[in-house]
Symmetry: C2
Subunit: 133 residues, 2 copies
DNA sequence: GCTTTTATTTTCAATGATTATAAATAAGCG
DNA sequence: CGCTTATTTATAATCATTGAAAATAAAAGC
């Protein structure tokens, strides 16, 4: 890892990254805190928050700019879409490629300099859909 | 307005709705509070929050499930896309129709029962783009 | 118009997520 | 090993939002 821009690889930073890469879900800062605490019991919540910011800046991870109430974090930094369950709040990756043409389309009519987009689907996950019978 | 589901049309509710419909921006609860306070100085912030929820439920307005840090509210309840300035946080409607086929596409590969989607573009508004020269 | 019912408002305190601060610690360099 | 300073810890502070209790006022009926 390229941590040569004045960044040190501390144990806490390393473990936070490892734990986040380990799961396929998109935990919030508090969940990551709980996960990491199993390995570093005395770590502080502030350290988790700070490192998630740093790791995002270094493109090691990605922060999902929320649609629920709190931020979620994603272990894979590549841009991709998400799908969220309205009932339980569960968040998964959407099985779909990035539609770059969407940006082309909006550029024709806006005076914004468009640099990206974020797409999120809403629905009921298979678990919660059962309850809708 | 159809406020017959056990909802009363209070002065504060009326003014909040009027003020929100009046602007073309997407103010946060605090901004709406400031706007309304010019007409009802003694209104409380909690009342603003509560009414924004109620008005959303009644489909009179729409709450934009944020991508910044705080919720934004939109005077027009119809679904549409937004475009956000990364520098100043300004939020505008995106000049583009809803792409319903996106949902069709994702449905083919997910076991979620998809009921909607939200798309937001990221960019620099014309004002902020000037500073990028 | 006056009563009554109860949704709503106000004031104020509480919560929950996140960020800031200061002192202590430790990564990575020579 | 010793130094520099990024980082951590612990704790307090902030910010947006929500909850609770008492007071107020819509709307419905008389």
């Amino acid at each position: 890892m390229l941590k040569k821009q004045n960044h040190r690889m501390t144990r806490q930073r390393k473990v936070i990254l490892e734990e986040l890469k380990k799961v396929k879900t998109h935990p919030g800062a508090d969940e990551i805190y709980a996960m990491v605490r199993k390995r570093i019991p005395r770590i502080s919540l502030g350290t988790v928050y700070r490192n998630l910011v740093v790791l995002s800046e270094l493109k090691e991870i990605q922060t999902i700019e929320h649609v629920g109430t709190l931020k979620r974090f994603d272990g894979t930094p590549e841009n991709h879409y998400h799908i969220r369950c309205v009932k339980c709040g569960r968040l998964d990756d959407a099985p779909m490629e990035i539609e770059t043409y969407l940006e082309k389309k909006v550029r024709r009519y806006t005076d914004y300099a468009v640099v990206g987009h974020r797409l999120e689907f809403i629905g009921h996950c298979s678990e919660c859909a059962k309850g809708c019978l």
